[in-house]
Every structure is written in C-alpha cells, then in structure tokens.
Amino acid sequence: MTGNNRHLVEVRNLSVEFHTQDGTVQAVRNVSWHIDRGETLAILGESGSGKSVSSSALMGLIDIPPGRITSGEVLYRGEDLLKASYERQRELNGSKIAMIFQDTLAALNPVYPVGWQVAETFRAHGVGHKEADSRALELLERVELPNARARFNDYPHQFSGGQRQRIMIAMAIALDPDLLIADEPTTALDVSVQARILRLLKDLQRERGMGLLMITHDLGIVEGLADRVAVMNGGEIVETGPVGQVFNAPEHAYTRNLLNAVPGRQGFPASAPSDERRDTLIAVRELSKGYPSSSRSPVVMALDRVSFTLARGETLGVVGESGSGKSTLARTLLGLEKASNGTASYKDRDMLQPTSSDRTVLQRQIQMVFQDPTASLNPRMTVEEIISEPWAIHREILPKKDWKGRVGDLLEQVGLSREHAQRYPHQFSGGQRQRIAIARALALQPEVIICDEAVSSLDVSVQAQIIALLKSLKDEHGLSYIFIAHDLPVVRSFADRVLVMRKGQIVEQGRTEDLFTNPQHPYTRELLQSDPVLGGPVAA
C-alpha cells in the first residue's frame, strides 16, 4: 500500500459500455471521483444514469463481455483494481471493499439459509465455521433482524424486503471494509429502522475510518450523511462538491430539477375530495395470516386481524415497520397466500376464495407492482413482450396491431424510451425495471393497482413524474391505489388515506392530513419523528 497516495479509492475516467443487440450502450462515461478514509460520498442521479454500473466496476463485477470497460482506472490505495488479478480482487472483495446490492431478492442465494450466507463472508476470508456463525448472528442482531437467532436458518424468500436488505447490509459490514459501497441500502426500510441503520453505518465509519460510497435518491439521507456529493446524469458526473454547496447552490440544471422535485416540500395533495361518499371497492375484515413455524422459528403472524376498506378513486397509503406484513397483505389480497382467517371482498366478490368467474374479474381489475421488480420480470421476454402480456391475456382490451405503439407510449409515460422495447430486463438498471413493472400494471387499465414499494428505487424527479402519472390516471379513470411505501413524504403527497402497520396489525388509520398532523399512536409518532424530511434531525 502506497502511503503517498492521498485517496482511499480513486476512480479516474471510468467508461463502461454494454453490447446489446441494437448496438452499444454507453452506461458510464468518463466518470471520476474519489473517497478518503472516513468520508462519505453520495452519488445522486437519475435512475439509469450509471450509478450501479460504475460502482460494480470497482469490484470487478461487471460481466465482461458483454460489458466492456473502455477507459479509466480504479485506484485502491494506489493499486489499479481493473488490472488486478482475479485472486487479488477476490482477496479485497468482501474484506476491504464491500457492497450492498440494490436488488436483494435476486442477490441472495435462494437455496441457502441467510445465516449461512452472512457467515460465508467470514469464512471466505479465513474465519472458522463456528466463529463465523456466531459473528454472523451477532451481525444480524445488530442490523435489527427480528428474532435473528431463531431465523438464522430461514431462507431468503421467507423474509420481507426490508429484512433482506438488512441481511445484505450485515453481509457487507461483516469484515469492517475500508470502503463500503451502499447501493440504495435503505429503500425497503421504514424510516425509524432506516435511521438506526444509517447511524450504525456512521458509527462504523467513525470507529474504523471506513469510506462510504452511498448511492441513493433520497436527498434527506444525502443531507444527513454525506460529506460530498456527485450528481450523475446520462452516464456522466454533471456536478460534484460538498453537500451544502451543491444543495444550496446547484449549478447544473439537472441538479436543480432534482432538488425541486423532492416530495413533501410541496404540501398536501390538492386533489383529494376525501369526504365525498364513494362506493367501496375492497373491504377487508379481520384478515389474518400466519406463517407456519419452520424448524426453529416460532409462528410468524404476518397479518393480525387487519380490517380496512378501499373506495373507488381513492389512494390508500400503507406505511409501517419493515416486516410488518405490508407485502403479505398485498399478496393475500391477490390470493397468492392463503389467508388463515378473515374475509376480503371486491365489489362483493370473495377475494380469498373466488369462483372462477370472479377470479377473471379480479385478475382483470386488480394489478400489482411487486417489491422486487427484477424477479417479477421474465428474463426471457423483451420489455415489449412483458408490457404487452396483459393484452395477450385479455384480448378484448387492445387489438394486436396497436400493441407496439401503446408499449412505446407507456414506456415514455414512465420515463423510458421507445427504443427500450426490444431489450431484456437484465439490461436495465434497478429503477428502470421498476418502471417497466409499473408500465405493465398500467397496461391493463385496472380499477385497483397495488403498488408495493413501486417508486422506491426512483430518483426524485422520475418519482415525481410517476406519481403525477398515477394521479392523472386516478383523476381521469377513477383508478384506486393501495400504495405501500416507506417514503413518508411520497405517501403524504399521494395518499388520501393512510394505514400504519406494525407487527401485522393496523395500529392507526385515517385521512392523510389528520394522520400526519395529528398522529395518535405512539408508533406513528415515532415514525414521523424519524423521517429526515418530515421531522427528523435534518429536517429542512
């Protein structure tokens, strides 16, 4: 290690391109940045602007081919990682440089218990089995995985999105790396957990002088955590500098745009004529769902006597603790999980055990955007095929000749371009995939869309665009949404009513305005308190 080098990690002139069927995609162009010990660099930027790709390049994780690093060097304490041998790269990965991946479901090996996978980081770098296990357990407890000891041997698919994200984090911080790359590490975490996780990262940074590369779209986090910020757009860094400077006096037009789009700064939804009596679409009564206890873990009551209604044209925000049963609620309503108890009806049709004719209606009228967009897209289908699939299923909606045009329209509406239609899911960034999933849900023009963290990976400007789109659909076609999110400002700006969930129960529900201004339940208060934008320490 050459001591004469100032920076812990320095990226110079990095360019990455991908080969695709239609030509070459330049994902990253001449990107340069650096991080010093104990410093936090935040990379902000539009979804698909090359944040994930440029950081994976550091760890040698880009598939070459089809990817190609066309220029640049990555210096870790003066050593060019792009030229390092495989074995050297392996030594550094995990121990000196670690990464929290964006898409947690795909990133965890589905066939191994999570504890085993966390412990593997230790084992890969020479720690014995016993010790690795005990340290892994310690870590899982540290990232607040509930019941960590009992759930040590559960498999990734048995955890909620936020829980998986914490498992990923545990894996990454296991060996106190010099540099931690955190790619959207908290998108699935509720604000209070998020705050504690961020504090954990900060502590580590302070104790060990860890450098932190934070990729996020959450400006609140950036403000609270980062020392410097780099803004990416279209594969390039358009602006960089200390946080305060960039946020207070943005130079680049894109940065300005971004800062203006932040939700929550614009007040409450103007549209909600909320007292008007509207017909009820979905009525849920006393819905419960327990997961049978596996070998060691106790029965998990993912839903505990949940009751609520959804009216036509209404947006129902669902917020709450990570792992509180929000996704389970969505899945149960769609019949993907068998409810243990309770009823749910859609326009007086039984949703839990529908007759086959009812099922057709339900499938036509209720759509869902999954929390894990990557997994929900068939890797062997082009985007065009994916988005037009609803029409192929429900032939009456759109004649085949119009599919292509309509797909293009939808792509543009969600902020992608028409040319993307021929690409495959793996060729997109996390946020782009999320938008493809949204486009697919919209394609069917259903009456209800259940969005499970549908906009969590989107940068604020695209987020704003999507929210605006959803709102306009609601106004024009009377769509209703069940909108599951952790991002309270977004919920506040979009939802008419809000449910707050905790440990499988609804602890509070009410009109958005009431709830946000006058929270009743202590948990709701805690939640609002922790939000960096709404009430947290870094509130503007």
């Binding site: 994780l61 598939d63 990133a107 066939v111 980081t121 890969a124 498999y155």
Partner: protein, 305 residues
C-alpha cells in the same frame, strides 16, 4: 414432511399393486413356457402334463388368486427354470446389482459434476468443447463395445485386471468403469447446461463481492441451484441400473438382477419375473421418493404438502 412420505408410500403401494397386476397378466400373453421347457419333440400328452404340473392350465384368474394368496405370506413362488424359491434368487442377485449401480453412479456423478461445472464456466471455450465431445461420445458409445474393448485392453493387452467374474475389489473395476460411462456423459451434459444459467445469476455476483473463492462459487453457490435436473437425470440412470445393467452383468459374468430378469423373461419364468419386478420396483419407488424429497432439500422454495 413425514406426512408427505407417508402419503407417498401409500401411493407407491397402489402403484405396486398396479404393477404386479400388469406384469402378471401381460406376461402371460407372451406365449406358453411349455415350448421352452420341454424338448421340441415332446408329445401333446407331455405338454399337457407339464402345464398341469405347473398350474398353467388353470384359468388366469385362479392363477392370479394363487399368486396373491402366496404373496400374502411373502411366498413369491418357485422359479420354473431353477426350481428354487424366487425370493432367494432375487435377494441373492440384488446386492450385486445394487453395488454395481451405487459405485457406477457415484463415479459418474463426481466426474460428471466436476467436468460439467467447469465446462460451463466458459461456454464454447476450449475446456467446454473438450468435455462436450468426451461426454457425448461417452453417452453414445454402446456398452458392449466399451466392455469388450476394456477387457481386450486392460485384461488381455495390459494384464492389469482380471477379465471378468466375481472375487475381490479388482474384479469390480472394469464393470463399474464401463457402467459409469454413459451416465457420466449424460449427467455432465445436464450439469453443464443448467450451470450456464446458474452462473449468470445475481447471487453469484454477490458471492464474488463477498470474496468467495471461485471453486466455492461454482460448486456451492451455483451448483446447488443447478442440481434439480441433474438429480432427476441421475435418478433415471440409477433406475436403469437397478433394472439391471444387463450388458455389463452378462459380459463380466456378474450375477445381477438384470441378467436374472432377462433370462426369466426369455424363459417365461413368470414367478421370477413377478418377484424380480416387485423387488426392483421397491428399490425404484424408494429411489424416486428420495429424489422427490431431495428436491425440497435442495431448493427450499419447493415444498410438498
């Protein structure tokens, strides 16, 4: 899990009944054993006497009733050809077959998994092409050809090993080798195929980011995800061997179930055929239950009710 095994065994018992009934009645469509057991010159009287002595002149349903009645007492009947209890003969032959199958499958699996997994690291690369050609040749070489060439080379030419027969460990080397070639080729191909997809998964990237060794990534992370078709195909091959590695048993003079069954079928030794089928079916059913359970063990997302 226990409930699953229980219901599987119950279902298998029903299949077993079906199998036995099928074998019993269908086998009797394939000609009269008299034509083999008596000299061709035998008079009509001698032929009738033979049929009577062995109960072939009873109505089929009566014969079946006798069979079932004896079976209930675990009496599988007597071999027409050898005039010994079927059960003794089958149980004497079965260990040979089982040992052959176990050894051959073990070797085949190890070699195939290692070579197939390594080949998949660079599809269409040099190693891949090499493994491809070898495994395909292995999967399409006739067994008898391999067996005879192996004897000519290793026993006659080099004199390293005995030509055939039973005895010590050395006697098993050639048959096991010969027997493992086809499953090895087949499994290597399947491993290669499903490993290619597994290696491009996101969790492989995670493992790389953790600094996991390449061999661990291949053989621990990717392989387990790729194992589903592999064990299915391996199971099919093992089933084939339990049914009898006929060529190998015949050529190397190993007294296994395959040879026994082939002879019994050719000699219309119905009691033997029935007994042999029951015993091999028990093994095959058990193997299939084990394989189905291993799906759930390999991939926790697969669960059986």
């Amino acid at each position: 899990m226990r409930g699953y095994i229980g219901s599987r065994m119950a279902h298998s018992a029903i299949s077993m009944v079906g199998l036995v009934v099928l074998v019993f009645f269908l086998a009797r469509l394939t000609g009269n054993p008299v034509d083999i057991y008596l000299p061709i010159e035998a008079s009509a009287e001698a032929r009738t006497a033979f049929s009577e002595a062995h109960g072939f002149d009873d109505p089929l349903i009566v014969q079946f009733w006798h069979f079932v009645r004896d079976l209930a007492r675990l009496d599988f009947g007597m071999s027409l050809r050898q005039d010994r209890p079927v059960l003794d003969l089958v149980l004497a032959a079965f260990p040979t077959t089982l040992l052959l199958a176990l050894c051959a499958m073990f070797i085949a699996l190890v070699v195939a998994i290692v070579s197939g997994a390594l080949a998949a690291q660079r599809p269409n690369g040099v190693l891949d092409r090499f493994v491809n050609v070898i495994s395909l040749a292995g999967a399409s070489l006739p067994n008898f050809w391999l067996a005879i060439v192996a004897v000519l080379v290793f026993a006659v030419g080099l004199r390293w090993l005995p030509t055939s027969g039973t005895g010590g460990f050395v006697h098993w080397i050639l048959p096991v080798m010969v027997l493992s070639v086809r499953p090895c080729g087949l499994i290597a191909q399947v491993v290669r195929g499903s490993m290619i997809s597994a290696m491009s998964s996101a969790y492989v990237k995670t493992a790389r980011a953790k600094g996991v060794r390449r061999t661990t990534i291949i053989f621990v992370h990717a392989l387990r995800n790729a194992m589903l078709p592999v064990i299915t195909v391996a199971g099919d091959q093992a089933t084939g061997m339990i049914n009898g590695a006929v060529v190998v048993e015949v050529i190397f003079g190993l007294p296994g179930i395959g040879k026994l069954m082939i002879d019994s079928i050719q000699y219309r030794d119905f009691a033997m055929v029935q007994g042999g089928v029951i015993i091999t079916a028990v093994a095959i059913f058990a193997l299939n239950i084990a394989i189905d359970l291993s799906y759930a063990l390999l991939d926790p997302r697969i669960r059986y009710s």
